[in-house]
């Protein structure tokens, strides 16, 4: 058992992404862009895999005043399409492709997927509250005006008022899409 575990570890020590051609097909990046992306990615993560802890660490560095760990967790889940618990380069590249080169609908779909924590197709108030709290946590406490405990809840109420057409306490993708496309031009 020991030797097999050791072998497993050896195998998992390096993750090889799928070939350049497949990635080209799946994403909207050019070859050079993919190369540059991969080089940066591999530099930071020589093993080819990013686990959640590392991801949280990296993401927190961008928001030193607050606590970005919970939002990073949601973000990680959003990127980790195959639920493997680690981000590999495919997830990374595909996610970025959607965000940078996707159509407005695709971007909105991605955002919806981010908010939908349990991936059941609709956003409930609880889920939204969690997301909102994590975003406010990221801001930290040194803000002006100073943070209030109810800020997140109020923000959620606002959101639901805008989004929830039929007032059933859930926001489905169609409602979401409709409202967003109507209200403002996303996708700059």
């Amino acid at each position: 058992a020991d030797s097999s575990e050791a072998e497993l570890e050896l195998v998992a020590a390096r993750h090889q992404p799928e070939g350049l051609e497949q990635l080209l097909a799946r994403t909207k990046f050019t070859k050079r862009e993919l190369q540059s992306l991969y080089r940066g990615f591999k530099n930071e993560c020589p093993s080819g895999l990013v686990d959640e802890e590392t991801f949280k660490l990296i993401y927190s560095q961008f928001f030193p005043q607050g606590d970005a760990s919970s939002y990073a967790h949601f973000l990680f889940d959003a990127f980790d399409a195959d639920r493997s618990g680690t981000l590999c380069f495919q997830d990374f590249a595909v996610g970025l492709s959607v965000l940078l080169r996707g159509t407005v609908r695709q971007k909105l779909e991605w955002a919806f997927n981010l908010y939908d924590l349990n991936k059941d197709g609709c956003i409930s108030k609880e889920e939204m509250l969690e997301i909102m709290k994590s975003i406010y946590d990221m801001m930290g406490s040194c803000t002006h005006p100073p943070p209030r405990d109810s800020a997140a809840a109020e923000h959620v109420e606002l959101f639901f008022q805008k989004m929830d057409r039929n007032g059933d306490g859930l926001v489905t993708f169609e409602e979401f899409l409709e409202t967003c496309q109507r209200v403002r031009s996303i996708g700059r």
Partner: protein, 658 residues
């Protein structure tokens, strides 16, 4: 933000799209990326070893040499690469810094070389990664200590200290007996007397024959007077020494508190107390005890022995270990004494009468001495006695290695310091030899130059080629520079030579050849005597210049001087630009005697004062005109604006004033 994390920034920014649907306010505009170039490989050629990296990698740190436009200075158009004439090994670490964001310090690298490279590439050493930072700091500290050490001892040894007060010289003499012969003598004398005093104390108690009265007397009582005289002499020397040290000490208060001074006082006090006290019976008992303190004189040897000092220092630095040893021993002694007492209580006629009485047994047993004056008789006593002796070995063996290793470390440090000092002597000697060599080369070339002129005048050109041997371009330029300096200051690189003053006084009226010979002789003598002193002796040089000036004055008597005042005026005007003073080329004046008369006059007042304000440094001109290539007369020779003067004017490069 670290470079590594910066790579994730685009990702984080992309993910921020997720905030947009929930945001209540519109998002700010994104900054536009100017000059978004396609990433390209750049080649860095460091001493032949080619490194390649992406341009963006280097641009991560824009405030370093490689990350900014400063590297464009090193761009080689022909090969389309950046060439750095530096160490490729260290460059590897530097480039890795750009790649990984962490700067490492390779252990095999010399610390000062590494620091220089870092400074060259504009990288602060503070960003060395944690893994290597401690090592780097340690090495740097060692280096700094070594340099400070060198500087200190250099200052001490230089002997060219500013005049110390008498008190300071005395203190220095006391602290370091090698500074002067007197100090050395003092050192040995005190050492001798310490030895005499200690031996006296010892011999005093030896029984030396009987006195009729058949009582064995110790020598001290038999030859009481002799011993008393010896003792007095020693104490007087010690007292004088102590008082002198007290007088010379820079901080008397600190001196009084120091260990050595306390030892000194304790060593001489019993004598004085003995003098003061009368033959009072009760007090004399105490007085006798006081004599014990005379043995402290032996500690005075620690000023003479470095080993003793090291030992003392070790004990001081191991105070905690010693304290632990003492404490654990005390604990063990008390435990075992108690046990032994109760174990032996039953036995009759036992020596273990009380616990304190058992202490003696415990100590003797634990240190494995085993005198045998107290032995346990009961079986229990014997068992515990053996346990006691076994544990004693352990308790003592534990702290001792710590003390020993401390001593060894301090001792080796001292050895290193001594070694450094010894090596430094060799190193300084090497440096001196190098300096001598270079100055000798300079004087040699100067002599050659003069000879050249002589030969030139006499028209024999083939010898000229013979004289100018292979001096490299750098050497000749260096010599030219030194010569310029000489001319500027009106001094010249000679040595304090008694012969010189004689020569200058005898030289009044000589032709060029004579003077040139004179110069030659000066050079020779200087080259022989150079190592003794570097600083030219002003007296001899002043003599030299006055001799030159006097010679020139002689020459000017032949002048048809129409425009002497005009020259002076011109020279005054020229002061605003740049002037030559005082220094003179005998060759010039004599070879162009007629031409330079007027300018001589102009120069004369300046020469007398032998002062400099500024200097002209001219471009090396063709040898025909200027063999030594500097100090033109001010371009104000009015009437004789011949070709030569115009050419000389054209050759002058005006340099800003000193």
């Amino acid at each position: 933000m670290a470079a590594g994390v910066a790579a994730w920034l685009p990702f984080a920014r992309a993910a921020a799209i997720g905030w947009m649907p929930v945001a209540n306010c519109p998002m700010p505009l994104a900054p536009t990326e100017k000059n978004k170039r396609q990433d390209e490989l750049i080649i860095l050629n460091v001493s032949g070893r080619r490194f390649q990296t992406w341009r963006t990698t280097l641009e991560r740190y824009p405030d370093t040499l490689l990350g900014s436009t400063e590297k464009e200075f090193f761009f080689n158009e022909d090969t389309k690469e950046y060439f750095f004439d530096r160490d490729p090994e260290v460059f590897r670490c530097i480039l890795n810094f750009y790649r990984t964001g962490k700067l490492h310090y390779p252990r095999y690298e010399c610390i000062s070389a590494y620091d220089e490279e870092l400074a060259f590439y504009g990288i602060l050493p503070e960003i060395i990664g944690d893994c290597c930072y401690e090592e780097y700091k340690d090495r740097k500290r060692e280096n700094a200590e070594r340099l400070m050490d060198d500087n200190d001892s250099e200052n001490n040894q230089e002997g060219s200290m500013p005049s110390l007060s008498f008190r300071q010289t005395m203190w220095r003499a006391f602290e370091n007996p090698h500074t002067s012969t007197l100090a050395l003598v003092f050192y040995y004398v005190t050492g001798f007397f310490i030895a005499v005093s200690v031996i006296t104390n010892v011999v005093e108690t030896v029984p030396c024959g009987t006195v009729p009265g058949n009582k064995e007397l110790p020598c001290g009582e038999r030859y009481a007077v002799a011993f008393f005289c010896l003792d007095t002499a020693c104490v007087m020397i010690f007292t004088v020494e102590y008082l002198l040290r007290l007088f010379a000490a820079p901080s008397r208060y600190r001196f009084i508190r120091s260990v050595m001074s306390i030892i000194d006082v304790v060593a001489i006090m019993p004598y004085y107390i003995g003098l003061v006290m009368t033959n009072n019976e009760d007090v004399s008992g105490a007085f006798v005890t006081l004599r014990v303190f005379r043995v402290f004189r032996i500690f005075k040897f620690s000023r003479h022995s470095q080993g003793l000092r090291i030992l003392g220092y070790t004990l001081k630095s191991c105070a905690s270990e010693l304290g632990f040893l003492l404490f654990s021993l005390t604990m063990a002694i008390i435990i075992f004494a108690t046990v032994m007492f109760y174990a032996e209580k039953g036995s009759s006629a036992s020596k273990f009468t009380s616990i304190p009485a058992s202490f003696w047994y415990t100590i003797v047993t634990m240190t494995t001495l085993g005198y045998g004056d107290m032995v346990p008789k009961t079986i229990a006593g014997k068992i515990f006695g053996s346990i006691c002796s076994l544990s004693g070995v352990l308790v003592i063996a534990l702290p001792v290695p710590v003390i020993v290793s401390n001593f060894s470390r301090i001792y080796h440090q001292n050895q290193r310091a001594d070694k450094r000092r010894a090596q430094k002597k060799a190193r300084l000697a090497r440096i001196r030899v190098a300096k001598t060599g270079s100055s000798n080369a300079y004087l040699h070339s100067k002599r050659n130059g003069l000879l050249n002129e002589a030969l030139e005048l006499t028209g024999s050109t083939d010898d000229e080629q013979h004289m100018t041997k292979g001096t490299s371009l750098i050497e000749s330029q260096h010599h030219h520079l030194l010569h310029c300096l000489e001319k500027t200051t009106g001094l010249s690189y000679l040595v304090d030579d008694p012969l010189l003053s004689v020569r200058t006084s005898t030289i009044k009226n000589h032709e060029f050849i004579d003077e040139q010979l004179f110069e030659q002789n000066c050079m020779e003598s200087s080259m022989q005597n150079y190592p003794s002193s570097r600083s030219p002796s002003l007296s001899s040089h002043h003599g030299l210049t006055t001799s030159c000036c006097s010679r020139r004055n002689k020459k000017t008597t032949h002048l048809p001087n129409s425009s002497v005042p005009a020259t002076r005026l011109r020279s005054m005007q020229e002061l605003s630009t740049i002037h030559i003073q005082c220094s003179e080329q005998p060759s010039l004046t004599t070879s162009r005697s007629s031409l330079n008369m007027k300018s001589d006059d102009g120069l004369r007042p300046n020469c007398k004062t032998a002062q400099i304000t500024t200097a002209i440094i001219s471009i090396p001109t063709p040898p025909a005109l200027t063999p030594e290539g500097e100090s033109r007369p001010p371009p104000s020779s009015p009437s004789h604006s011949t070709n030569i003067s115009t050419t000389t004017t054209s050759n002058i490069v005006k340099v800003s004033a000193l």
